[in-house]
């Protein structure tokens, strides 16, 4: 390492460095940037005096927190939550106050409670995502941030954090390892799935096939020449996970497969035991023909498995 060069940081270390909690100086700098909040604080204080049962306590506590007065913010929020214990946003703000006080586990408790009250609360999911990232738990962080974005696609903080994760991952994974993963069957997949992957890839109607594991990471195979094919496959697997999540309460049964059709081609997503198999279909092949080929392959595989079981 030459003088002045930063020490190499990889893997978990890199992620732990990402979203450290704001320092006191940073909090004060934020107040300078948001100098317009003082009049708003005044208005909210008047509103709370006029109507002590108002839900505006959460916004007021949040602004007071941003000004750096954590003790008053905590008091305001705690008093409000006594009257409105089921107000999810109040819980989120309380968690943020705890976070700024470096009380991480209490912050987590509040955010989890907020999600229990409102499972779609984007800010609660965002804060939990930040927390997981802070702890180096990247898969959970990614899931929480993706969920926050899913509920609120305009949530810039979640987008930025996800982009940072992807950037760090790309930097920390050696390029040759990445290429090997794309071209060779991974040892992380079971032999039957490796065989399936090879068989699907050899179908005449298939352009490429890639297996995405349950964490949403592509682990074996190769898909298409598209620049973002791997990210696209991960997103297609996310479609399957989301579809399973939303379909389950509708009593529609188990999701078997999905078809994603674009103006320039289609992708089949097959649910397999090791994750989701993303299959890019050749552009000039009708879906029906491709499906028939894939179904034949899967049926033969099932028959072989049954025969193996019988033999055993």
């Amino acid at each position: 390492m030459t003088p002045g060069e930063s020490p190499a940081v990889t893997g978990r270390q890199a992620f732990c460095r990402l979203p450290r909690w704001p320092t006191r100086e940073e909090q004060l700098a934020q107040v300078e940037l948001t100098g317009h909040i003082e009049p708003r604080i005044g208005a909210l204080r008047r509103e709370l005096r006029r109507n002590p049962a108002s839900l505006c306590f959460a916004e007021l506590a949040d602004l007071v927190r941003r000004e750096g007065n954590l003790v008053e913010a905590a008091a305001l929020c705690a008093r409000g939550l006594l009257q409105h214990p089921g107000y999810a946003t109040g819980r989120v703000v309380m968690g943020e106050i705890f976070r700024d006080q470096q009380l991480e586990s209490k912050a987590e408790e509040e955010w989890r409670e907020a999600l229990r009250m409102d499972p779609n609360h984007p800010r609660a999911r965002l804060r939990l995502g930040e927390l997981y990232l802070h702890r180096g738990d990247v898969p959970r962080a990614r899931a929480a941030l993706a969920a926050a974005l899913h509920v609120n696609p305009g949530l810039a903080e979640a987008e930025d954090l996800l982009a940072t994760i992807e950037h760090q991952e790309a930097e920390s994974a050696p390029r040759d390892q990445m290429l090997r993963r794309l071209t060779e069957p991974s040892t992380r997949t079971s032999p039957p799935v490796q065989k399936l992957l090879a068989a699907v890839g050899a179908c005449s109607s298939v352009e490429g096939a890639l297996l995405v594991n349950s964490d949403g990471l592509p682990v074996a195979g190769s898909l298409t020449a598209a620049a973002n094919a791997e990210a696209g496959a991960a997103m297609a697997a996310q479609v399957v996970r989301e579809a399973r999540r939303v379909i389950a309460p509708l009593g529609a049964g188990r999701l078997r497969m999905a078809l994603l059709r674009g103006s320039e081609g289609s992708v089949r997503c097959l649910v397999v035991e090791d994750g989701t198999l993303i299959v890019a279909l050749k552009r000039d092949v009708p879906i029906g023909a491709a499906d028939a080929e894939l179904q034949e392959l899967l049926a033969a595989r099932r028959a072989r498995e049954r025969a193996d079981q019988d033999a055993a």
Partner: protein, 158 residues
């Protein structure tokens, strides 16, 4: 009672909006007459049901939310995979087949039997999408001679 400007506009728009509801409902009526299709709905991009034609045992709010949340992700996935613009997504479960198509105002969803013919449904979905786009044009006041959807030729390709 004195109405502010937006409220007055809203009041004035009410008859037009009911026409829009009629257009969407007619689109769904034709769609649900397709063999194998048991229901359909139009959802906003936020997942709220705009027009619904479902069996009583189907959860309209749940299906509308599902159409929007899956539709949003599909749109991104297809773009990332270099497959052009989102045209259609079909989710096959043990019991039924859900087919989602994008609209300028949200998503169109068809609920079908598990073994229903996807090609036939896709063609009818394209027609329903056209009708829904005409309704959307009525809301926005646009004169859309051609619908924005690219579903037109889809049925033939499936």
């Amino acid at each position: 009672m004195q109405l502010d400007a937006p409220a007055r506009e809203q009041t004035k728009m009410q008859p037009e909006q009911s026409d829009v509801g009629g257009l969407l409902d007619e689109a769904l009526r034709v769609l649900t007459a397709t063999p194998g299709v048991t229901g359909g709905l139009v959802a906003t991009s936020d997942g709220l049901p705009l027009a619904v034609r479902l069996r009583p045992d189907h959860d309209r709010d749940g299906l509308a939310a599902a159409a929007a949340s899956v539709g949003r992700l599909v749109s991104k996935a297809i773009a990332e995979l270099g497959r052009g613009d989102f045209q259609l997504a079909a989710l096959d479960t043990d019991r039924l087949r859900l087919i989602i198509a994008p609209l300028s105002l949200g998503y169109l969803l068809a609920v079908a039997e598990a073994d229903a013919n996807l090609g036939v449904i896709a063609a009818e979905l394209a027609n329903a999408a056209k009708a829904a786009e005409r309704a959307a044009a009525a809301i926005s006041g646009d004169d859309l001679t051609e619908p924005e959807t690219e579903l037109t030729a889809l049925g033939g390709r499936l």
